[in-house]
């Protein structure tokens, strides 16, 4: 079972029972155990590698020695044959055959140890990778646990024993509420501006016929086209004209 599936099983098993603290403690315990196992395995593999490399060196040394012994014996055999001493040549040849057998065996040993060295190196590399990954997983689990502890502390701080976790949903509701409040405030401000501002007063005064309607262009033209005195006298009953008369008297136009 992979480490992650062990932890996931643990999460599923305890999520509804004992609570998070147990899960986290166990998750970290599992990871720590895996870490220890891998560290031990790594140390053992490295020790084994050193041993095998030393053995290989010894075997290689023996091989070199056997090679030179072989060369030496070949010389003896050739010497004995040259002297016509067939019996001596045969005696040495028997020894030479032993040397050659040992040489082959030693070569086989070295080859076997070379392949052991190769697989040990591969195993060490993969254990080292696994160790780095484990350490990272432990850090992540520990940090996740710290985040959960922190969030739990914040929840407790907000509402004492009856802890309630503040979520994005709460924030979304607050945002919407604030937007509504802001909208309502804006409407109220506009309403207030409308009621108290100049615009509304002018509109109401014009409606009551108390102020001059600036859009009454026809009235102005009519007034100016007709003989001034007559118009002023004739139309004096119109509220607008009366007001103009009042304004003229106020500003001293009329004597």
């Amino acid at each position: 079972m992979s480490i992650l599936s062990k932890i996931l099983t643990l999460f599923r098993g305890t999520a509804n029972e004992a609570g998070q603290a147990v899960v986290d403690k166990n998750a970290i315990r599992i990871l720590d155990q895996e870490l220890r196992d891998s560290t031990t395995e790594l140390a053992r593999s490295k020790e084994e590698l050193t041993k095998v490399m030393a053995q290989r060196q010894l075997a290689a040394n023996r091989g070199t020695a056997l090679l030179s012994k072989r060369k030496e014996y070949e010389g003896y055999v050739q010497g004995a044959l040259a002297k016509g001493d067939e019996a001596l040549a045969r005696e040495v040849a028997v020894k030479l055959s032993d040397v050659e057998r040992d040489l082959q065996a030693e070569a086989g040993n070295v080859q076997q140890m070379d392949s052991s060295i190769g697989s040990l190196k591969t195993a060490i590399r993969s254990t080292e990778t696994q160790l780095a990954r484990l350490k990272q997983q432990i850090n992540t689990v520990k940090a996740t646990e710290a985040v959960q502890r922190a969030q739990s502390a914040v929840a407790a701080r907000h509402s004492g024993a009856n802890s309630k976790i503040g979520t994005a949903l709460d924030s979304l509701e607050r945002i919407k509420q604030r937007q509504e409040e802001q909208g309502a405030r804006f409407d109220a401000a506009q309403q207030l501006e409308h009621e108290t501002g100049d615009g509304d007063l002018q509109a109401r005064l014009a409606g009551a016929g108390l102020v001059n309607d600036p859009s009454n262009v026809d009235g102005i033209l009519e007034r100016l086209r007709a003989p001034q005195q007559a118009v002023l006298v004739d139309d004096s009953q119109s509220a607008e004209k009366q007001k103009l008369l009042a304004a003229e008297s106020l500003f001293g136009e009329r004597k």
């Binding site: 998070q20 899960v23 710290a146 969030q151 976790i165 503040g166």
Partner: protein
């Protein structure tokens, strides 16, 4: 190891979000809380781990979800298109809580940390708005 000391990280957060909105949590080691007034007082938790900085904010508690299967499915679909943040399920005080979280390298710059926090808040609000049909009283 993160190159940020506790004091530096607090200062960095306070400079951006205002000292009143930033606090170191005494209850958890190297954990900080940031309140974002612009995001409806959303609270983001930061933890400076050994070689990473973790940011997380609770999305919604599982008991507020009416359709867990639909919600989970929607979360998995949202996840790949969520810039910088991930959606996940966590347990706080024995309660299942959906979280939005992100991880930063321990030697991230101030700008990267601030960006991550802001994105986390935006993503969390976006996500919960999107996922509202799966919630209780939706």
């Amino acid at each position: 190891m993160s190159h940020w000391t506790q004091q530096q990280l607090l200062q960095c957060l306070a400079d951006t979000f205002g000292a009143a909105n930033v606090a170191a949590l005494e209850d958890a080691e190297r954990a900080y809380q940031v309140v974002l007034p612009d995001s409806g007082d959303l609270e983001v938790t930061l933890v400076a781990g050994e070689d990473q900085i973790y940011c997380s904010t609770p999305l919604v508690t599982a008991d507020q979800v009416s359709d867990r299967a639909g919600f989970n499915d929607a979360c998995m679909r949202l996840n790949p298109i969520n810039p910088l943040s991930n959606l996940g399920l966590s347990t706080v005080d024995g309660q299942d809580v959906y979280v939005v979280f992100g991880e930063l390298s321990g030697d991230s710059t101030q700008a990267q940390i601030i960006h991550e926090i802001r994105m986390l808040a935006v993503n969390a609000i976006d996500a919960i708005e999107t996922l509202k049909p799966f919630l209780v009283n939706a």
